[in-house]
Symmetry: C2
């Protein structure tokens, strides 16, 4: 069935079902808490955004008007399914949630919403929630790696691998055994979906994809607990996910270092408020401008030397018409960096179509770089060449962008980012956020996952 010889899907499902809190190293647990806070801020940053509010409205109207699980942006309660979908819809909008480089997968937005909603519904402990989250990350990331670059060319891996990640996290909270977890994977994978086509039109599908992944994964796990069966080889079978949606899948990635390599700890925080594919070049541009004390007006031309996926995802965005689309415009991101020093949520809102930014944008081009491309997706190298108005040719390189595990954010930096994200959409005051931060930093000892905002 697979080139890995053994049974990677079975091994992965057994890992997720059997993962014990005590087996997870303390630094991984601390990183899981970091990621939870980062996710929480990202969720509140989605409050008020039109597509987010559409989805939250729909799922809360179609679900019950009361229940055990928080809908964070509205501070209301509903069923775990409706809450998970609403929170997942909210948490990927600001493009400030985490990313795992090797899998090009955003784990938080598909793992935390179903895990939190179900932990609240079942009255689980903080330790159980953290364990489930580690299971979700480590499964989802490996599925993303397995599906490979060919998959990502057409499919939004966060949507597709996200269904399996959500199923793993919820399945762990439900206490599924290995066989049931495998059924949950089967039911999640056969619902996995998400196409990049929407980017060309700046359409709202990204929020739909994360909600869909959270909802289908949660559904799959609950069904498995009730005896509902799924395909045994949903990932690598002859009519499974890879057969249908990938041409370079690698089954060995599904079990790579299970239980010793903690993929969750490899996850990066976002520093710029844009598509991750723009970050390496943004960091490199900051470096060259800082080193040579350049202002935007000093620069005649920028060449970002990038990997192919950056061209695939960002290339179609020539003249962004919305803030969201601008986050996928390499020129706009570099323009905000050059003109305003930052590409944060506030800079995007205020300046993404301002004349100086647009003028800079049109000086930027992307070029495929063989070395950068070969390193990707394991490493996201940033390399820019700058031609100055006075004829100098300068360049800079960043081997690990800000927020990556080797260049990570400290807890004070994470707290600051979360407080700003919460304030951005009016989702929570700083005082409220201090309470949430304290709750998350002490989650491992909490006998019960608390409500975080709802009364």
């Amino acid at each position: 069935m697979t080139s890995a010889g053994a049974d990677p899907t079975g091994i992965l499902a057994a890992f997720a079902a059997g993962l014990a809190f005590d087996a997870i190293p303390a630094p991984v647990l601390r990183r899981a808490e970091d990621l939870m806070l980062d996710w929480f801020g990202s969720t509140l940053a989605g409050k008020g955004a039109r597509p987010v509010e559409s989805l939250v409205r729909f799922h809360t109207q179609m679900g019950p008007s009361d229940g055990p699980s928080e809908v964070l942006v509205h501070r209301t309660l509903s069923s775990p399914l409706a809450a998970a979908m609403a929170n997942a819809a909210a948490s990927h909008f600001a493009e400030q949630d985490d990313v795992h480089n090797g899998s090009v997968f955003h784990p938080a937005t598909v793992v935390f919403p179903p895990a939190l909603a179900v932990a609240q519904a079942l009255g689980r402990s903080g330790a159980a929630l953290l364990t489930a989250v580690v299971a979700g990350y480590d499964v989802g990331i490996r599925v993303g790696e397995f599906l490979g670059r060919s998959h990502y060319r057409t499919f939004h891996t966060t949507g597709t691998a996200g269904s399996i990640a959500a199923a793993a996290a919820v399945g762990r909270l439900l206490g599924l055994d290995a066989a049931q977890m495998r059924h949950a994977f089967g039911s999640a994978g056969t619902q996995a979906a998400g196409l990049w086509e929407f980017l060309r039109d700046a359409a709202d599908s990204k929020q739909l994809h994360t909600a869909h992944a959270a909802g289908t994964g949660l559904t799959a796990a609950y069904l498995a607990a009730d005896g509902f069966t799924g395909a045994r080889h949903i990932l690598d079978g002859p009519q499974g996910m890879a057969a249908g949606m990938s041409s370079d899948s690698d089954p060995s990635r599904l079990t790579d270092g299970l239980g010793t390599r903690w993929a969750l700890a490899e996850t990066s925080f976002k520093f710029h408020a844009s598509c991750r594919h723009t970050h390496p070049a943004a960091d490199a541009l900051q470096r060259v401008m800082h080193a040579h004390r350049l202002a935007a007006g000093d620069i005649a031309r920028v060449t970002a030397r990038v990997h192919q996926s950056a061209i695939d995802v960002l290339g179609p965005v020539i003249d962004p018409q919305t803030v969201h689309q601008a986050k996928f415009s390499m020129g706009t991101v570099l323009g905000l960096i050059a003109v305003h020093g930052h590409a944060g949520l506030a800079e995007f809102d205020a300046h993404y179509r301002a004349a100086p930014v647009v003028a800079f944008r049109d000086k930027v081009r992307m070029q495929l770089d063989p070395e950068v491309d070969a390193a990707y997706p394991a490493r996201w190298i940033g390399q820019v060449e700058v031609e100055t108005v006075d004829g100098r040719r300068l360049s800079a390189r960043v081997d690990e962008p800000k927020g990556d595990p080797g260049n990570t954010l400290s807890r004070p930096e994470l707290e600051d980012k979360a407080v700003r994200l919460a304030a951005y959409g009016g989702g929570a005051t700083e005082a409220e956020m201090r309470g949430v931060i304290a709750a998350i930093w002490s989650l491992a000892d909490a006998p019960l996952v608390p409500r975080l905002l709802a009364p």
Copy 2:
């Protein structure tokens, strides 16, 4: 963007948005009523089936415990989303619902559940419901034809094209304009999913696929009514459905005969209680046995000459372990025909592993036939060669299986089938079904779509 030159997605969306009741020929409306009754019976036949009850339980628990829309197998009420998903889960289980040959697509199970649930929720007329159903069928069938045979090799077209079909039907009931309908298609298509992998394990995913299609399509349409946008070229764009999930898509099929060719009227009713790929051979075997007055014991060997998709779908099922899997076993179906004269729900339940059926099953093989394969999927030709115990070589051919448009079921035959299906799972008594039948036959004149079973 497409080889069809124009904008087939836009044309199809405009058709669905603009379809008027008065533009639909009376025979097409009558056929839509026929299909509704056939679907209704199939839904009740799912009552009590383990995977159906799992899904119904899940969606009714996650949804509100009251609402405007009927959950038919439980006679309860919930939100349109929960009811649509529950009813879609139920209606494809017995494998007695309709099929469109050319698209290898089962329209009823993904169109009627969301259409009925939303018509009840919005208080629409019977004419509005029938109009929406015609829109759903004609869109879904064309999307299935567009995605082609390569898609069907790995993907369950009823699950994938089904999302768009459901969006079209619900979008018509919501009164979406052409632009909104196109957004609904975009949101539905980017959630489209369903892989055949589950068949190898006789897993429960088929019920999940129809529920998923109904739910995602309904969601897409409601979101579009609320201003949520989707990809403009979700079907034929460079990162759309065909790009990701087909290698032989044909955009011209999306608009083929729109408004003059009514694809709904091309839909076939099922006569045998098995996968449609078994039906042509089953009819041909009945013919040859009848013509030569053969009993099962007279037959030494049967060769079913089939199209490639029959081998793809049925080939992996060698030794079926469940009734459901047996419906995908050519040998079992022909065995039931040979031994019991019928392959109905009751025959499957009682005899699918009985020794005489298993003995006959092992005499059956499938062989790819170039002429049968070339005619497929437009025509499903049945051709069998029989070798008798006494050494005769006989054969028979059926050009249009029972239930196809040219060999269709009469209203009395449809009523009889529906009453039997309703009785099968204890879903409704004959008296109750007579009331439902009367309601459906007079639907075109009903100012309000009535409740059909719930108190």
